[in-house]
């Protein structure tokens, strides 16, 4: 059975031993050097530098966490076995399950401390260099999405169009409506708009279209023209065109553009456009004939404050920790069964393979492997953990909130592997004559 006292004692021992090893200090110092150098990355302006710095801090922190996850726990378990200390240890009332979980927990606590220290150092340097931290936003997706014809007819968008695009072309006046529910009331909100635009000239580098955006409280109300929010990255008149009042120019943004700070046109959604029960309808009308708007269910989003950068970074750290926990569990399993060299190699192999699942996809899609190889690759894709599943650094750099639901999803996903590996590690230890 797992006793909390035993777990705590073993986690404590793991931490103390790791502290005495000093290996972590060298790695942490090097990582701190890289984190401190992050704001000096080369980019064209301060905002691009900030984005690069945020990604670099996240990446370096992630690298250190992975490296320590591979080294610390496995090294200690192997030493216990090789030095026969395990014989003394297991003669005391300590279960093998508690031993494995305790070691793993100790590693995890150490990793969490390293994450917090590096993230705090990175945050402090970024805040000092850039005189502020990136704004983080959470978004509310619309509950309903409707198509609007040029004659003003509103039809619910077909169910099969969900996740796809609705093409608004032909005579101007058509567009789309989105109904938001559960919005906060009593204060102005921010509406984010991003659409794909095709034509009139496919060779034109920047495709744009004049539109009108209105909103009203509830499902039916009196429409009110929405204005650009200060600091919106685009939406105003381009230098060679005039913009009538109440109109906006949207520019083409495809799904690869995900930065909430620079890829979305930002508008002010006044509190009067949100009903008392938090419902608001937003309507986009296309005002030019030639450009074709490709609208989707999430072309408009309502932005809310996503909390502080530091809190998001900590939540991001918890996601990285879930992946590191998996690696720590895997190396504990390997070290229970083999020597330290094999353990490190095995841990790294799993990490490399889990980071390169896209190449498996590529091989399956483009290289037309034989059926046997295709099945093997499909199995590998299914069985291997995907370490690139949660893109924490990019998400924070793009101003997206890291929610607790994502933390939960990460622990749920990696946790299954972790439990499996710890279970096998326990089995491997149980079979040893100690």
């Amino acid at each position: 059975m797992l006793s909390p006292l035993q777990l705590r004692a073993l986690a404590h021992v793991t931490l103390i031993e790791a502290w005495r090893q000093r290996l972590w200090l060298v790695i942490a110092l090097a990582a701190a050097g890289l984190v401190l150098a992050a704001p000096n990355l080369a980019a064209i302006d301060q905002s691009a530098k900030l984005k690069l710095a945020v990604v670099a801090v996240g990446a370096v922190t992630g690298f250190v966490v992975v490296l320590l996850a591979l080294l610390v726990g496995a090294g200690q378990l192997r030493r216990d076995l090789d030095s026969r200390f395990a014989i003394t240890l297991f003669s005391k009332p300590i279960g093998r399950l508690a031993y494995v979980f305790g070691r793993w927990l100790g590693v995890l606590i150490g990793l969490f401390a390293a994450t917090v220290v590096l993230a705090a150092a990175g945050t402090a340097v970024i805040a000092w260099q850039f005189h502020g931290l990136p704004a983080i936003r959470s978004t509310v997706a619309p509950a309903q999405w409707q198509a609007l014809s040029a004659l003003g007819e509103v039809t619910p968008s077909p169910e099969e169009a969900r996740g796809k695009y609705l093409s608004a072309n032909g005579a101007p006046g058509n567009g789309s409506r989105w109904v938001f529910t559960g919005l906060p009331t009593g204060r102005d909100l921010e509406l984010l708009v991003k659409v794909r635009i095709n034509g009139p000239d496919m060779m034109e580098q920047t495709r744009a279209c004049m539109v009108e955006l209105t909103a009203w409280a509830g499902v039916s109300g009196s429409p009110r023209q929405l204005e650009l929010a200060p600091g919106s990255p685009y939406g105003g008149a381009p230098h060679n065109r005039e913009l009538p009042p109440g109109r906006l120019f949207l520019i083409d943004r495809d799904e690869s553009h995900r930065d909430l700070g620079v890829d979305y046109c930002r508008l002010r959604l006044p509190s009067s456009s949100v009903s008392e029960n938090g419902v608001s309808t937003v309507q986009l009308v296309r005002l030019e004939q030639s450009p074709i708007l490709l609208l989707s269910a999430d072309s408009t989003l309502v932005a809310r404050d996503g909390g502080s950068y530091v809190l998001n970074l900590v939540r991001g750290g918890l996601i990285s920790l879930a992946a590191a926990g998996l690696l720590a569990a895997f190396t504990l399993l390997l070290s229970a069964a083999s020597n330290l060299g094999v353990t490190l190699l095995g841990g790294l192999t799993l990490y490399f393979a889990g980071n390169a699942l896209w190449t498996v996809d590529d091989s399956l899609t483009y290289e037309h492997p034989s059926q046997a190889i295709a099945r093997l690759l499909s199995l590998a894709k299914l069985a291997l953990p995907d370490f690139d599943r949660f893109t924490v650094s990019t998400q924070i750099a793009a101003g997206h909130v890291i929610g607790w639901n994502e933390v939960g999803a990460a622990w749920g996903y990696y946790g299954i592997y972790t439990l499996l590996f710890l279970g096998i590690a326990w089995f491997a230890l149980a079979r040893k004559e100690l």
Binding site: G33, A42, A356
Partner: protein, 354 residues
């Protein structure tokens, strides 16, 4: 002394050494070190970083590279660029890092931004990353090739901007580093600190540099770099012709034809190296496809531009590959600088008639 104190003393010494290297010794290094060593040496900060990582340096590069590759594959270019820059600090001699970083900046991030000024700024950042890579890897033909590719291929979009700026501050350090490795007869002159160089001319320089470095090192890394200068100089001539500067265009075409003769001389070299034999075969095909066509165009233009008395001689000289003779005829003067040829005109072509 206890181990903890020894460790703290060690760290303090490390930082003190770093401070001395950065503030006291760095200004003196240029005076005491030969030029090539300056380019080969790591910066003090980079040296400290790599030293501290010790044996984990390779592992760190592998792990970060893996993530960068994955980010690039999924179009998260800011992440890939940030990771490439981090790797370049850990392992600045890793040529591919500089190449990928430069490419992501100039092409991928440059594509994602909208306005022309920002695209140009990212292009310059990309070129600058490639040049920084060359400072750390002065023997790298791969980086010279990539520089040439970026300068002419992506630069094709920014002709007016590229011609309007002076490239001497960026390129002259590379020229100096290259000249250290080349025999005296093959060295490059420094770029004049003035605008006026087209993207094609700049690209041709980088490919020419790669070819000369290849020769100096007795290597055959890529045969195509030998014909790229000829092709790019011809494109430069085409630009001038499209702008209505026909005599200048003829001069550039003659430069290109000279380069083709160098290619022909390389094609004729006797070798048993399979790599070089294969390169020579492709090079011969390219020569046959391009050189004759250019010679005929140059001949037609020369006949039209030359004074009536010299027209036939100039035409024949080009046809018989006596390009030095044509230059002598041009130097005698009396040639039209532009040809009002009528017919369809290029959109950016400047007419010569007042």
């Amino acid at each position: 002394m206890t181990p903890a104190r020894a460790l703290i003393a060690g760290i303090v010494c490390l930082f003190a050494a770093q401070a001395v290297a950065t503030f006291a010794l760095k200004p003196q290094r240029a005076a005491f070190t030969p030029n090539a060593d300056v380019f080969e040496a790591l910066q003090p900060g980079e040296f400290a970083g790599t030293l501290m990582l010790g044996g984990f340096r390779g592992l760190a590069c592998d792990l970060l590279w893996l993530r960068a590759d994955s980010a690039k594959e999924q179009h998260r270019f800011y992440e890939s660029v940030a990771l490439y820059q981090t790797i370049s600090r850990i392992q600045p001699r890793f040529e591919q890092i500089w190449q990928y970083m430069a490419h992501d900046m100039a092409y991928n991030i440059g594509y994602e931004v909208d306005d022309e000024d920002t695209k140009w700024a990212w292009y310059l950042q990309g070129v600058s990353a490639n040049l920084r890579g060359l400072e750390h890897n002065p023997h790298s033909i791969r980086l010279l090739r990539h520089l040439g590719f970026m300068l002419y291929h992506k630069g094709d979009r920014f002709h007016a901007r590229a011609s309007a700026m002076s490239w001497a501050p960026q390129l002259n350090p590379v020229v100096l580093a290259l000249n250290q490795q080349l025999p005296e007869s093959r060295r490059f002159p420094l770029f004049a600190d003035a605008p006026g160089l087209s993207s094609y001319t700049l690209g041709a320089f980088a490919y020419e540099a790669a070819a000369r470095l290849d020769d100096a090192n007795h290597r055959q890394e890529a045969s195509y770099v030998r014909r790229m200068p000829a092709l790019l100089i011809e494109s430069d001539g085409n630009l001038l012709r499209n702008a209505g500067q026909h005599l200048a265009a003829l001069n550039r075409w003659l430069d290109s034809l000279d380069k083709w003769q160098e290619v022909a001389a390389w094609n004729a070299l006797s070798t048993t190296d399979d790599n070089m034999l294969s390169g020579q075969r492709f090079s011969r095909e390219s020569f046959e496809r391009n050189e004759g066509a250019l010679r005929r165009r140059a001949e037609t233009l020369a006949r039209a531009l030359a004074p009536a008395a010299d027209a036939d001689a100039a035409g024949r000289a080009i046809s018989e590959r006596r390009f030095a003779d044509v230059r002598v005829l041009i130097a005698r003067g009396g040639w039209k600088s532009s040809l009002d040829r009528g017919g369809i005109r290029w959109l950016d072509e400047v007419t010569s008639s007042p």
